[in-house]
């Protein structure tokens, strides 16, 4: 309904509020932040995948020039942490269980001095048996990554057994019956590799203790309040005594959700009694960051003669690494992606996460999206080929439409999938799917959710008639806070530039679930919109009194309330209220309502229902070089149901950037790990797409408004990374007949695989 109306501020291609500082170099990022007297910290990391620490001697290191503090697992009592299982240690205490695990930290006058001193720390290790393959790790005879797993505290939803650190199941109908009734049954195994989030600003933190139990941290986290509570847990102090500030952040993509350098900076600053900065090196980023998990996916699908899916059985096995991290969440949500946006009368989908002695992993943009989507959508094309059907037609016969029941029992509304499919197919020229030798087109469908979690917003009217909006999220670059400010400006009858945004300070801004889950603009805009309406009510009361008029009779235009020819401006109202009535302020909070689902279908599921689901189709046209196996992407189309476009420019930016990030995972990006050791820890050998590797991304915005979203908007940030691996794999198969089952799709695999 709302989308049809003409608006003044929302729906417009307005420039972002934080843009000028970013093009002039004036913007301050966490890595630019410094304090007087600040020291520099460096971390000593384990060279072994699994070993007992026999002895650590820091005597020589302490005597090195410029060294102010040395911290080990024995020198400070720090509590274990972890978002689902408390299996992370700040510094290893008795054992190391992955390569790169922090063993000690040094704070020195310069980074160089700290680095030199690391070499003077003597550590004696006794190596222990390790396991690197998830399937081997599941074997009863495998070494346990955490022999004490039963004593590690975990969230109630976590079901563990030895190295298996979580298990989620979705069950519908009877899959065996479905397979018996099927015309054909297809079974495949797919694999995906670890990838890095790829943000260009390394993780960094500056910590300063302001009292024995109080600290301030300037860092580049995506989650202020999760960082605050995790640090409080580690250091055993009150969360309100930890102030987290993000001066600016150079990209996140999920790679900065969990602690980066904050805990090391805090431990070193406490020991040194000076502010300490710790910044991850590029090598540390590529060998010791929180990667997207490698996965193994088994998928079995039964169809009738016409290609209707009758049964689907699947398992996603997630290599969590040596600490569970986001593994349980990825395995759990992965089951929904295994199902895909399709009608499934019978399904049995399982997601498990497994400890190995590989590096722990995190939650990269659409954490469980690209891997199971690669499996599901590759298999859809393989089924279509076997049945002699057009892959587009096979999808048409199975996709979710308005009112359909999804695998979790949720009734689907505002389903723009068919429109995305149609428009993407037309745009890519689907009728000529194999236009020439070694050239082909492929497409992939997907769905995702708008994550929940609460947002708060404080508003105050300023004496100059502008409005200050204070929110607890980080503007990661997506434009989420410009979008939220557009919503507020629309409500207030103001210009976008009348909104002053204050964000990302845990002490002064309200609680927020954080910049994650495609929910930032959605939730912050809803909270702020509610607050704006409350503020307008208060302003109206005051204006009516001042003008001696009836509240309801007042008109609002040009940042003033009018009674006939008499007016009082917003600026006058604010000035008057500041002097006589304590100012004009308002606040509101928002959390998205849960979507209804059938609880009997899910076991231990982290996100059993999908609020404001989004739907998307990617299509690509590419060529494969006969001799070199090199893939050239000629065209790339993204069609996404975004609900409503608050700011089409930045929305397109999300889809363009996400697609290219996904193309990186499809074709070139891989953290290569051998026996727990990363083999390509530099940006020469870890290949992110450059401007030369991709074409212009063609974006189609489809708008089926969400009832809950601001002006009908849905979450948009994560989905575009989901479909590229499958769309590219399908196009490669169309181009040269090679079906690649293991990401990335390298030239070697195309030529030799």
């Amino acid at each position: 309904m709302t989308a049809a109306k003409e608006f003044e501020v929302v729906g417009k291609r307005l420039n972002r509020l934080d843009g000028e500082g970013k093009v002039t170099g004036a913007a301050v990022y966490a890595s630019d932040f410094a304090l007087p007297g600040m020291l520099h910290g460096k971390i000593l990391r384990s060279p072994h995948a699994h070993a007992r620490i026999v002895r650590i001697d820091t005597t020589a290191a302490r005597k090195m020039p410029g060294v102010r503090a040395v911290v080990t697992g024995a020198s400070q009592k720090l509590n274990r942490f972890g978002n689902f299982i408390k299996d992370f240690e700040v510094f290893a205490s008795e054992r190391v269980y992955h390569v790169g695990q922090p063993v000690a930290g040094i704070a020195a006058d310069t980074e160089y001095a700290a680095k030199q001193a690391l070499r003077a720390i003597e550590v004696e290790y006794a190596e222990l048996p390790a396991v690197f393959d998830v399937m081997e790790a599941l074997d009863k005879a495998a070494p346990l990554v955490h022999p004490d797993w039963q004593s590690l505290k975990a969230a109630p939803i976590i079901v563990r057994e030895g190295n298996r650190c979580s298990r989620t199941v979705i069950k519908v109908g009877d899959v065996e019956e479905g397979f018996r009734n099927s015309y054909r049954v297809y079974e495949h195994v797919f694999r995906t590799s670890a990838v890095h989030a790829g943000y260009t600003e390394p993780r960094v933190a500056v910590a300063q203790w302001t009292a024995s139990d109080q600290a301030t941290i300037w860092c580049n986290t995506q989650l202020l309040f999760d960082t605050q509570s995790t640090l409080a847990e580690i250091f055993g102090i009150s969360p309100s005594h930890i102030r987290v500030i993000v001066p600016g952040i150079g990209g996140g993509f999920g790679g900065k959700l969990r602690l980066g350098m904050e805990h090391y900076a805090m431990a070193l600053a406490r020991a040194a009694k000076r502010p300490v900065r710790v910044m991850s090196s590029s090598e540390e980023e590529l060998t010791a960051a929180l990667f997207r998990q490698p996965t193994t996916i088994e998928l079995k699908t039964g169809v009738d003669r016409e290609g209707h899916i009758l049964a689907k059985q699947g398992r996603i096995v997630v290599d969590a690494g040596a600490c569970s991290g986001s593994g349980p969440l990825v395995a759990s949500t992965g089951t929904m992606i295994l199902a895909g946006p399709y009608r499934l009368p019978n399904a049995n989908l399982e997601g498990i996460s497994v400890y190995t002695n590989n590096h722990p992993n995190g939650s990269i943009r659409a954490p469980s999206g690209p891997m199971p989507n690669f499996a599901t959508e590759s298999q859809m094309d393989m089924i279509a080929e076997d049945l002699g059907l057009d892959p587009l037609e096979l999808r048409r016969r199975n996709i979710l439409r308005e009112g359909d029941i999804a695998v979790n029992g949720q009734k689907m509304t505002a389903v723009g999938l068919e429109e995305c499919l149609d428009k993407a197919a037309v745009a890519i020229g689907w009728d000529h799917r194999k236009p020439e030798h070694n050239r082909g087109k492929g497409l992939a469908c997907g769905w995702w959710m708008t994550s929940r979690g609460s947002s708060g917003s404080y508003l105050k009217l300023m004496q100059d008639g502008t409005l200050t909006m204070m929110v607890g999220v980080v503007e990661m670059g997506t434009g989420a806070l410009t979008g939220a400010a557009q919503v507020v400006a629309e409500e207030m009858g103001m210009k976008l530039t009348d909104i002053n945004v204050v964000s990302a300070d845990s002490l002064t801004t309200p609680y927020d679930f954080g910049s994650q889950g495609s929910r930032t603009m959605f939730a912050v805009a809803n909270a702020s919109r509610e607050a704006a309406r409350d503020l307008l009510g208060k302003m109206r009361v005051r204006a009516a009194k001042a003008l001696g008029a009836d509240e309801q009779a007042l008109a609002m235009r040009d940042k003033a309330f009018w009674s006939g020819e008499k007016k009082i401006t917003f600026a006058e109202l604010a000035a008057q209220a500041n002097t006589a009535g304590g100012g004009l302020i308002a606040e509101a909070t928002y959390i998205a309502p849960a979507a209804e689902h059938d609880a009997s279908r899910v076991q231990n599921h982290f996100s059993p229902s999908w609020p404001s689901p989004s739907f998307h189709v990617h299509a690509t046209d590419l060529s494969v070089d006969d001799v070199l196996g090199e893939v050239t992407i000629n065209r790339y189309v993204v069609a996404q149901d975004v609900g409503y476009a608050i700011n089409p420019t930045y929305l397109e930016g999300q889809l363009e950037g996400g697609a290219v990030q996904g193309v990186g995972q499809a074709l070139s990006e891989e953290i290569i790990i051998a026996n727990g050791h990363v083999q390509n820890g530099n940006l020469t050998d870890y290949k992110m797409p450059t401007a030369m590797d991709v074409p212009k991304i063609e974006v189609i915005l489809v708008t089926h408004p969400s009832v809950a979203g601001p002006y009908g908007a849905k979450g948009v940030g994560e989905p575009p990374t989901i479909q590229p691996p499958a769309a590219v794999a399908n196009a490669v198969a169309a181009a040269c007949g090679k079906r690649i089952m293991h990401l990335p799709i390298t030239a070697e695999k195309i030529l030799l695989g």
Partner: protein, 159 residues
């Protein structure tokens, strides 16, 4: 390690006499000695391009250039690109085209484009992509960045 050099440098039109260590890079001199933090720090091995600045009009990765090699050089950083209060055409185009997201690569990207447009004032889309390929951006997927550079080239050519 601790040998120091006297360095004469012109940065954004200002002349400096600095005492720098033999191991210090141009990026360190800009960020630490001159507190010009527009040029960013990331890979420190010349792969990502967020540290790009102009040296005597040409694009260099300041993270792998020793400061001592810059004796007498004219350096332009993102802070010196605007003409007084008037933004450079690239800065305006990047803003208006929505080519900026997190912004961390943007100083490097704009300086790279500024250097490239001096060599090739009317580039094709393909040439722009080649010209910018030394600077990584994870946010934008490059589409709007390429459009912004095209727009700026036209604006600059029209003058």
């Amino acid at each position: 390690m601790s040998t120091t050099h006297e360095l004469n440098l012109t940065v954004n039109g200002e002349e400096w006499q600095l005492s720098v260590k033999g191991t210090e890079t141009l990026l360190e001199v800009l960020r630490k000695h001159l507190t010009l933090t527009g040029a960013k720090s990331n890979c420190l091995e010349g792969e990502c391009g967020v540290c790009a600045v102009l040296m005597n009009g040409r694009v260099v990765n300041s993270c792998i250039l020793l400061a001592a090699q810059c004796e007498g050089a004219q350096i332009t950083t993102i802070e010196g690109l605007a003409n007084g209060e008037t933004m450079h055409a690239l800065q305006t185009a990047f803003l208006n085209r929505g080519a900026v997201q997190c912004g961390y690569c943007i100083p490097g990207m704009i300086m790279t484009a500024a250097g490239y447009l001096k060599e090739n004032p009317a580039p094709t889309e393909e040439e722009i992509r080649e010209g910018l390929c030394g600077t990584l951006c994870r946010c934008t997927g490059y589409t709007k960045i390429v459009e912004a550079v095209q727009e700026a080239a036209q604006t600059m050519g029209a003058k």
